[in-house]
Symmetry: C2
Subunit: 656 residues, 2 copies
């Protein structure tokens, strides 16, 4: 399918047309909407809903309010804009592309290696701050504003935050400190689009009277229709008069603004209460319809002016997964060549997280004290079935992981068994001290750490969780398990709920399993062999890395090297006698982490062997070194040297 | 010096006297104040200021508002009270003692093994939640309240929070969710004593109009004089009428209430703006004066009634450090006998944290872009000299570690070099995701992780930081150093500021160094030998554990076993060639952690050797297993088997 884009030259033309400012800004915004839509479609994933809702504000900033384009993105006197929520970045990329700040070749590589990260990264021209993990923006923006003042640099700082994001407590720390520290060159823009991920903010965590709240924190608060260029102009004018306080604009926007069927009042009705355009690329028909609608708006303006019609271009499709080598720097800063391999990154129909959702439901009747807690990721974490079946045992905390975890602590102290859900990168890190505090009370709580590991690699480093095992295994009494398949997922959850007296951490892959693995019943501390081989033994876990491990074993077998692949879902608890028997006869062992090399299974395995005085053989641990790459699964696995063929080569080099 | 206490029987008598309620409650409160004062004096440390400010509220709860004493602390229908800030727990212990809930033998063992923890722990009778790390209480209280409703249990939940504590963002997550989830059987009590640690709240992080803020979050807000029993009675009466919302009482109290010279208006004036009675035991003269003042108040009431005068008792002094064996369970739940050893836990005059404060000041002129950030621990972290000398480069964030760290991220993006200070247990954990986010921007930031390690062990497990190395070393580009002495502290900070391009984590002991260690100049990745010996090599770090390591070496030398003790301040960065040379000739190596066994130096050392294909010899890693004990340094080191004699015995058992 053709995916047409508007070239930068057309935006330059839009800027020169004899239009009143509101019409001109709307024209540019709709052009950027179209390009954001095309970029997400081309990438196959990305966040459209808030890219569209925030667009009129972002376009106004770069066209009319900020000096950034004029003085240049490297000027210390530039105005600074960034979005704290960050998932609206496809929209921002489109705006930066329209100004020539993001070059065409990168704009066409959204969520690809050497392209544009799925959440903001300062490695991309024009991106001022890394975000994607929520609630940090006001604090960081204040740091930038403070530094500007301290150095006598010009420029204001504008930070966009989402309304769902306002559930994060750090915002309220920052609202206070900004006033306390007298930082007044900071403006916060709330993209108040009323919908967070897939449900209304009112339903997930109603924010109450926002103007009253912010005013109570000492801010100057303005409010307007955030998709109306005229209203926005007046609001910015009003804020420009304020110099004795930091300023905040509550921009009432429509999630999906600009595409009628993606705008939330209609989209929520169509989706029966669920908003379908938060994340993910639209299907072909929806893409065509949205593209057409935006194009028509633009063409109508051009037609009224009787100027040349809209010029679009259709770029070459993105390179195939099997294709020419890509020259990149790997995570250690070394140049490497990525050639796609046909066997990398296959797919089965299995999602371990689906098995988790089903097992939750199955346990609900057996364990009446079980309650499920969510921080606005019910769809991704597959807890919605449980929510529907047991609304009185489902607790929605909104985007407030710390609050959710401490609430779980209270529930557990008084007879409930809480199952706490979020993405691992948020739960294990943001709520780390709260998890520790609960553990000191010796309460039984189960933490479901979703989206553990490197893949999918499109959302980028704020979402890929490669540190969660390290963050939790130093807490006494915690057992971390990452199942390899649906059967192990069910068994691990049942073991945690029904048998294990302590804290259970169930680490789950979020994407499809590359292959369906057959495993025997789960035994605490033990794994199972997936391949046999006499030359070396490799321990791995989780559906993604086990698939790569098996690809490695296949590649090695072709070269006469026998690799035993052991699936070891127990990441910090081992039956040492079993471990010894698995190692018997080998002179060399390998561990493949779906985690940083530091603090994962490898550290725990080697530590356990030394503790047990099992004479250690050389262990080589392969994990994600450096920050994770953003791209397609095959690209990123290769980038880190963790795809099957790379692993095979690394093993051969060591064991030769 | 005699430290007299009021026995429980006197409190029973107070309750039976023919007094009006306000006078009776004040009498009991003053009695509990006296006992809290004596307990802290006996312990040699503890938090008095807020124990005194909160006392009238706590006494009112247990005497007049809650059913807890009547139905019993195990009843599922009991009312639940706990303090989120937790450092007011000496006051709560005194109240629980007055009701016979905390038994005498434990009450006399504040901050001692088998006694009462320095911050609340549910292992103590009547303690409902672990706290001490701030901001979790409303969330946890809501969990308890929710569980009560779900199970049809009676009882309300009362949570005390501090005003300084209200700077933590989690509170605002919880204020919202409590309303959103319709939890109305929860009352929050703000001990608004206007002083946080040693300075006024207004100065550290002014909270603005609290009533307006809380009302904006949808709570029913009452406010009264929190040291006036009559006013408190009316306030609780008013709150009792509210059933459609959660309720909040802002109790305006005096920090140090009940002892004239400890009350904050006077104490702040005496202390020239700094409040001296937040933590630590009073000196003898102050103790005597405070004790006398409280005794006189009580005696006056009794005299007016013409009843028997106040009976006090003077318990035996606490056992000496060298004394009879103490039978306890160690952190693994096994029974052990603790006999004090005269050589354990000595003291030199050195504080590495003083050297840190001096080095900061020294660097200030050399590095003008350096800024220092604090989260209300300026005295403990020795940043006050810098604050006074460079107020324009010192940023006070209040108790808001996440906000502080993200602000540092913004500062670093725009040309400043931030040095971020807090206790390791809070900074590395609470702000973990923010530290990670900053690291993904590749910004140079230095985190000073104060109070790293097991000692002092009086404050308890919320403060002892035994996981911070594990929490930070999985972040790419982070170097963690724990210096052994003042010289290494200065050198490590200078290296981080002047030479290291990446993120530096300076882990610092907070207490006095047990001995003064001589060390050669610091070389990245290398340590130095402190003792020589041919039978085994032991790696350790930091003044506390190095001292124990040297005691072990001395004990082993007496038995003809030579132990080489190597001080290795680099916890995750090694010169492997140097490491090999240090290991050469040994068949066995040991690591002594001032950290959990998981995720510390041992894991990193062994991992580096395996990575480098240095043939591994057996490594035994001794660290803190289980949750840390609370007590005196010798008690707790022995409890964990980490005092010199225990280490010597463990090494002998392994290497024999």
């Amino acid at each position: 399918m053709d995916i047409p884009f508007i070239p930068k030259s057309e935006f330059d033309r839009f800027r020169s047309l004899p239009l009143d400012e509101p019409t001109r800004l709307k024209l540019i915004a709709d052009g950027c909407r179209l390009n954001a839509l095309s970029a997400v479609k081309r990438a196959g994933s990305g966040h459209l809903g808030s890219s569209l809702s925030a667009m009129d504000v972002v376009v106004r900033l770069y066209e009319a309010e900020m000096n950034t384009v004029r003085v240049g993105i490297a000027s210390p006197d530039r105005d600074v804009y960034f979005s704290s929520k960050g998932h609206d970045v496809p929209g921002l990329y489109a705006v930066l592309f329209s100004h020539g700040i993001v070059p065409l070749d990168r704009f066409l590589r959204l969520r690809r290696m050497n392209g544009l990260d799925g959440h903001p990264d300062v490695g991309v021209p024009g991106i001022e701050a890394n975000s994607g993990s929520l609630g940090m923006g006001i604090s960081k923006g204040r740091g930038i504003a403070w530094a500007k003042t301290a150095q006598g640099n010009g420029g204001r700082v504008f930070v966009m935050i989402g309304d769902g994001e306002l559930q994060e407590g750090q915002n309220y720390e920052a609202l206070r400190t900004t006033v306390n520290q007298g930082v007044h060159n900071l403006t916060v823009l709330v993209d108040h689009n009323k919908v967070q991920s897939d449900k209304p903010v009112e339903e997930i965590g109603d924010l109450g009277d926002l103007e009253r709240k912010f005013a109570a924190f000492g801010w100057h608060v303005t409010r307007c229709d955030g998709n109306d260029p005229t209203a926005l102009g007046l609001a910015f004018l009003a804020m420009g008069q304020v110099s004795d306080r930091p300023t905040m604009l509550i921009a009432d926007t429509l999630k999906g603004a600009g595409v009628s069927f993606m705008e939330h009042p209609r989209a929520l009705a169509t989706g029966k209460g669920q908003y379908p355009w938060h994340a993910g690329a639209p299907d072909d028909a929806s893409f065509e319809a949205a593209h057409l609608e935006l194009r028509h708006k633009i063409e109508n303006v051009l037609r009224d002016l009787a100027v040349a019609p809209l010029a679009l271009f259709v770029p070459e499709p993105p390179e195939l997964l099997v294709g020419p080598a890509l020259q990149v720097q790997n995570s250690l800063g070394e140049p490497v060549s990525i050639e796609m391999h046909p066997k990398v990154g296959g797919m089965s129909g299995e999602y371990v997280v689906e098995a988790y959702g089903d097992a939750l439901l199955e346990l609900a009747d057996e364990v009446p004290e079980m309650v499920v807690l969510d921080a606005d990721l019910a769809a991704d974490c597959r807890t919605r079935k449980f929510e529907r079946a047991h609304p009185d045992r489902f607790i929605q905390c909104g985007i407030a992981e710390q609050d959710m975890v401490s609430m779980a602590g209270g529930l557990a102290r008084h007879g409930r068994l809480p199952i706490v859900n979020s993405f691992a990168s948020f739960l294990a890190s943001r709520a780390n001290e709260q998890i520790y505090n609960n553990a000191t009370e010796k309460s039984k709580i189960i933490y479901a750490n979703h989206y553990g590991g490197l893949i999918p690699a499109g959302p980028g480093k704020s979402h890929q969780s490669l540190r969660d095992v390290s963050l939790l295994t130093s807490i006494p009494g915690v057992t971390v398990v990452q199942p390899a398949n649906a059967a192990e997922t069910r068994a691990a959850l049942r073991w945690m709920v029904l048998e294990n007296p302590g804290v259970g951490v169930l680490r789950l892959a979020i994407g499809p399993s590359p292959r369906t693995l057959e495993t025997p019943p789960l035994v605490p501390g033990r794994g199972c062999r997936l391949t046999e081989g006499e030359d070396a033994v490799l321990f791995a876990y989780g559906p993604v890395m086990l698939s790569e491990a098996m690809l490695a074993a296949e590649a090695l077998a072709e070269r006469g090297f026998g690799l035993r692949v052991v699936n070891l879902p127990w990441l910090n608890r081992f039956d040492v006698a079993w471990l010894e028997s698995e190692l018997a006869g080998y002179e060399r062992a390998f561990v493949l982490e779906d985690h940083a090399r530091v603090g994962g299974l490898g550290d725990r395995l080697v530590g356990a062997l030394h503790d047990a005085e099992v004479l250690p053989i050389p262990f080589h641990v392969y994990g994600i070194d450096g920050h994770p790459g953003c791209g397609t699964p095959p690209e990123v696995l290769r980038f880190h040297g963790l795809d099957g063929p790379s692993i095979a080569a690394r093993i051969l080099a060591r064991a030769r």
